[in-house]
């Protein structure tokens, strides 16, 4: 709607990120900056970090409205809290691109995000493949109230139901953090003689569990599956290459799509309102190639 300003030289875009300090989101930020650079008439303001607080994020969105940005990108902490703020932006005629997690209103320009139920299901299918004779699975969950956690759990359980001999014998909240996952896994190893597979809702948790299993000398008897597949030295793709994870699934950041969408919107072009992104399974075979594809180091 704001594309009418034809004589404008430069468009200003604001982006509110729910928490910079998660590797996945740091990568998203990096990619977004990278892809937006391709459009010289678009200026991305410093990314606003809500540090996991909805209240902070709401006021960030309001700040951007106050600053009269030409377009707004939001990665909500949770759907509900950001709904009213996004509505306010929409009322102020600012196009809003919602990234990764949704909001409960239709008044936005585009939603771009992965399908976590799908990713969970793929992870489950991989588990079924890895455990043809069934086995014991433990599940490290993200922050319990986060939508990706709920969806990744749901998809996974649906998929492993295919083999009734696969049992999820324990699950706990690892809060997306590596450091939380290690002691939990240590306790599971003490409790359970047989653990065949660890499903971590993200790579850091899966890797935290891997550390514990390796220490107990049981890593080679256990398969590890993670999610995110970041192309960073400390990320999931490398871990698959090193054989620490059996598989991980790329949780697409949507940065490239977001950049394209913003550009189109600012120039009055039509965009798809809902852009659901697929996932790619990272295996030993495609890891090197995928890493190269997504590696941004040295490009910014």
């Amino acid at each position: 709607p704001s594309a009418s300003s034809g004589e404008k030289k430069k468009f200003v875009v604001g982006y509110s990120q729910s928490n910079n300090a998660e590797p996945y989101r740091a990568q998203l930020n990096l990619q977004l900056q990278h892809f937006l650079k391709k459009y010289p008439d678009i200026e991305l303001l410093p990314i606003a970090d809500a540090k996991q607080s909805s209240a902070t994020q709401v006021s960030q969105v309001q700040n951007f409205i106050t600053q009269k940005v030409d377009a707004l990108i939001v990665s909500p902490t949770e759907p509900a809290p950001l709904t009213a703020a996004v509505q306010q932006a929409c009322d102020a005629k600012i196009p809003v691109i919602v990234l990764d997690r949704t909001v409960n209103t239709d008044c936005y320009t585009a939603f771009i995000g992965g399908d976590n139920v799908l990713i969970g299901r793929k992870a489950g299918e991989e588990a079924v493949r890895l455990l043809p004779d069934g086995g014991n699975v433990v599940e490290l969950r993200g922050i319990m109230s986060n939508q990706p956690q709920i969806d990744r759990d749901k998809g996974f359980r649906e998929a492993v139901a295919a083999n009734p001999k696969i049992k999820i014998i324990a699950d706990r909240e690892g809060k997306w953090l590596k450091e939380q996952a290690t002691p939990i896994m240590q306790q599971w190893l003490a409790q359970h003689q047989q653990i065949d597979l660890v499903y971590g809702h993200n790579d850091p948790m899966a890797l935290g569990a891997y550390l514990a299993a390796q220490a107990a000398g049981r890593a080679d008897k256990i398969k590890f599956i993670g999610i995110d597949g970041l192309a960073i030295p400390d990320g999931g793709i490398r871990a698959v290459q090193l054989g620490q994870l059996s598989a991980t699934f790329i949780y697409p950041t949507g940065a490239q799509e977001a950049a394209d969408t913003v550009n189109k919107v600012l120039h009055g072009q039509q965009v798809d309102k809902k852009q659901v992104l697929g996932t790619t399974q990272v295996t030993k075979d495609n890891a090197a190639e995928l890493y190269k594809q997504f590696d941004l180091s040295g490009q910014n």
């Binding site: 910079n20 410093p46 909805s54 902070t56 700040n63 009213a84 009322d91 922050i143 109230s145 709920i150």
Partner: protein
């Protein structure tokens, strides 16, 4: 008996005027930090910063924490600390959302219930501190954990939305009304943003309680010297329990505001709000040793915190640097607004 020169409050005529001026200046100094931030805001962003919407937004975002800060100030004045307020706000916001979602209760029914829930847990904090004589830091830290656990359990770790649609697809009248508690863009009488109003009213009420009532005096006495307070006839136990209960009650009051603001009750809502609340009180001059502090100070402290965020945000400072600058400015503000500022640099003696 004979007329002595030791004489009652004798004041040299000029002296008292000078003194009044000085003490007024001293009082004004308490606002220097705030004024500084306002000045920077206006200088850098002018009208964009200094307009009703922006200020309302900024204060509204902090209002629920500001209300917690008032309760925490009471506790700090008695020499205690309350780390549980964030959790209490969380469970109150969950209570509010559930009452709305499950029973379609009206806002005026929801608020008192939330306040009672908060007050109840607050009472337990007070009882543990006063009767079992557990250090309030431990007691309220334990409460933080217990209440967060309960909150997550009753909600099944799922956030509960407050924008509840009726069969006609439109919001129910109760949900519609609930938005007035602070869902951004919803104002009382189309003008007044309730969180800001509520914060100010809470400040005024508790300012009056602390400065005008016997209870207020007792709060200061308990924090200043509990032994002397007890021997002066103050019921130290009752005052202690009362401040924790009030702090809990205020957290309960802030719960629905937080739920409306987020249009949902997140089982994590309020997490780490206690630090912001305590920071507001302490930046406002409250001493964690007890006996020293005011609601006006806490109000200023809250404004400093939220306007600082706002100014940095409007100036599009990057987030990492925001953290750095925020820390530095808080230190500067605290130093500047100290009444004995000049003494420090003169290297005056301290006792």
């Amino acid at each position: 008996m004979t007329t002595v020169k030791t004489a009652p409050p004798v004041k040299a005529p000029g002296e008292s005027r000078m003194r009044r001026t000085l003490s007024a200046l001293g009082a004004a100094q308490a606002y220097i930090g705030l004024v500084l931030i306002l000045a920077v805001g206006i200088a850098t962003k002018g009208e964009m910063f200094l307009n009703e919407t922006n200020l309302t937004n900024a204060i509204g975002a902090f209002a629920s924490r500001g209300i917690l800060a008032v309760g925490v100030t009471l506790v700090i004045l008695t020499g205690g600390i309350d780390l549980s307020v964030g959790s209490l706000l969380g469970i109150a916001s969950m209570t509010a959302a559930m009452m709305l979602a499950k029973f379609s209760l009206e806002p005026w029914q929801i608020v008192p219930v939330c306040m009672v829930v908060g007050a109840l847990f607050g009472f337990l904090n007070g009882a543990g501190t006063a009767w079992l004589r557990i250090q309030s830091f431990v007691m309220t830290l334990a409460m933080l954990s217990v209440v967060r656990g309960l909150d997550r359990q009753v909600s099944d770790n799922v956030s509960v939305g407050t924008q509840i649609a009726g069969p006609d697809g439109k919001l129910t009248p109760q949900a519609e009304a609930f938005q007035l508690f602070g869902t951004p863009g919803h104002n009382l009488f189309d003008r007044i943003y309730y969180p800001v109003l509520a914060f100010i009213v809470v400040c005024v009420v508790f300012h009056l309680i602390l400065t005008k009532t016997r209870f207020g005096r007792h709060v200061y006495a308990v924090g200043g010297n509990p032994t002397a307070a007890r021997l002066s006839g103050v019921n130290v136990t009752a005052v202690t329990i009362a401040v924790f209960t009030l702090s809990g009650m205020l957290a309960g009051f802030a719960g629905p505001i937080d739920a409306a603001y987020s249009a949902s009750a997140d089982p994590q809502a309020g997490q780490s709000f206690e630090l912001d609340a305590i920071a507001a009180a302490v930046i406002g001059g409250a001493s964690l040793a007890g006996g020293k502090g005011t609601i006006a100070g806490t109000f200023v402290g809250a404004l400093i915190l939220t306007l600082l965020d706002n100014v940095l945000g409007l100036n599009a400072v990057s987030d990492n640097w925001q953290l750095v600058i925020k820390g530095l400015i808080v230190v500067v503000a605290v130093v500047l607004q100290r009444p004995d500022l000049f003494k420090i640099f003169r290297g005056g003696s301290r006792s």
